[in-house]
C-alpha cells in the first residue's frame, strides 16, 4: 500500500511500473535487488499488449485472446505479471467475467 502512494507522487512518466526504479542506496537495476526479496521486480519492462497492437475492443467472445490472461487454475492473471495497463486490465477483467458467465471460460479449472 505504501509503495503505491509513493509511486503516484513520483510520476516520472513510468506508466506500468508499480515502484520507482532507483530510490535510496539501491542501484538502478533490474531484478538484482528486489524490494521484499521478490524476484519479479522490474523484469524487462513489459508493455501492454493491447496498447502495442492497438486492440481497442476486448470482446468476451474471443476466447483465445482472453485465455492468454487466464492462469491454468482459471484465475485472472494480475497485471504486474502480464504488463497490461490499467484501463485495459479493467476491460479484460470484465470480458473474462462475461465469458465465464456464458461458459466460454471456466470459473475454476484444475484447481491449483
Amino acid at each position: 500500500m505504501a509503495e503505491e502512494t509513493r509511486s503516484t507522487f513520483s510520476s516520472s512518466g513510468e506508466r506500468g511500473g508499480d515502484r520507482p526504479p532507483s530510490r535510496g542506496p539501491r542501484p538502478a537495476g533490474g531484478p538484482g535487488g528486489g524490494r521484499e526479496g521478490g524476484r519479479k521486480y522490474f523484469r524487462r519492462k513489459k508493455v501492454c499488449k493491447f496498447c502495442v497492437e492497438k486492440i481497442e475492443a476486448i470482446n468476451y467472445k474471443d476466447v483465445r485472446l482472453l485465455a492468454q490472461f487466464v492462469a491454468e487454475s482459471g484465475k485472472i492473471v494480475p497485471r504486474r505479471l502480464t504488463g497490461v495497463c490499467t484501463p485495459h486490465q479493467r476491460r479484460l477483467s470484465t470480458a473474462i467475467k462475461q465469458a465465464r458467465n456464458i461458459a466460454l471460460l471456466p470459473f475454476a479449472g484444475r484447481a491449483s
Partner: protein, 135 residues
C-alpha cells in the same frame, strides 16, 4: 430507443434443427413486434462448455444482435428463461462500446489524414507522439 444489445444464449446440444429455427423465428418476431430490429443472428455451432450446465457438457451457441429498448430485452429474457432447451443466456449492451470504438477510429483516421505526405517525417512525429501517450 436505439440501444443495441447482443444476446448470446446456449441451447442444449441434442436439439433438432427445426425446433431451433422455430425458436429463433419466435424471438425475431418478438423483437419486431415490440418495435425493435434484428441486426443479425449468428449460429456459432456446437461447443464444449467450460463447465457443466444443467448436466450438459456441450451446447449450441447462438448470438442474436438486436436494436430495441430495455423492455424488449426484458421480455426476450423472460421468454428464454421459460424455454426449456435454452440452458444459459447473457445479454450485453453494445451501443456505448460501439460509440467509443467509432470515436477512436475517427480520431485515428483524422490523425492519419492530417499528414499524409512525407511519410518519413510523419512516422517520426507519430513515434514521438506515441511515446508520451504510452509512457
Amino acid at each position: 430507443m436505439n440501444r443495441t444489445y447482443e444476446l448470446m444464449f446456449i441451447v442444449r446440444p441434442d436439439m433438432v434443427e427445426e425446433e431451433l429455427d422455430k425458436l429463433i423465428s419466435t424471438l425475431e418476431s418478438q423483437v419486431t413486434s415490440s418495435g425493435g430490429a434484428v441486426k443479425s443472428v449468428e449460429r456459432m455451432g456446437k461447443r464444449r462448455l467450460a463447465y457443466t450446465v444443467r448436466r450438459f457438457h456441450d451446447g449450441m451457441y447462438i448470438l442474436l444482435t438486436a436494436e430495441g429498448s430495455g423492455a424488449l430485452i426484458h421480455e426476450l429474457e423472460r421468454r428464454l428463461r421459460v424455454t426449456e432447451p435454452v440452458i444459459k443466456f447473457l445479454t450485453v449492451r453494445v451501443d456505448e462500446e460501439q460509440k467509443r470504438l467509432d470515436k477512436i477510429k475517427q480520431i485515428r483516421e483524422s490523425r492519419k489524414k492530417k499528414a499524409p505526405p512525407a511519410p518519413a517525417e510523419t512516422s517520426a512525429d507519430a513515434g514521438g507522439e506515441a511515446a508520451p501517450v504510452t509512457a
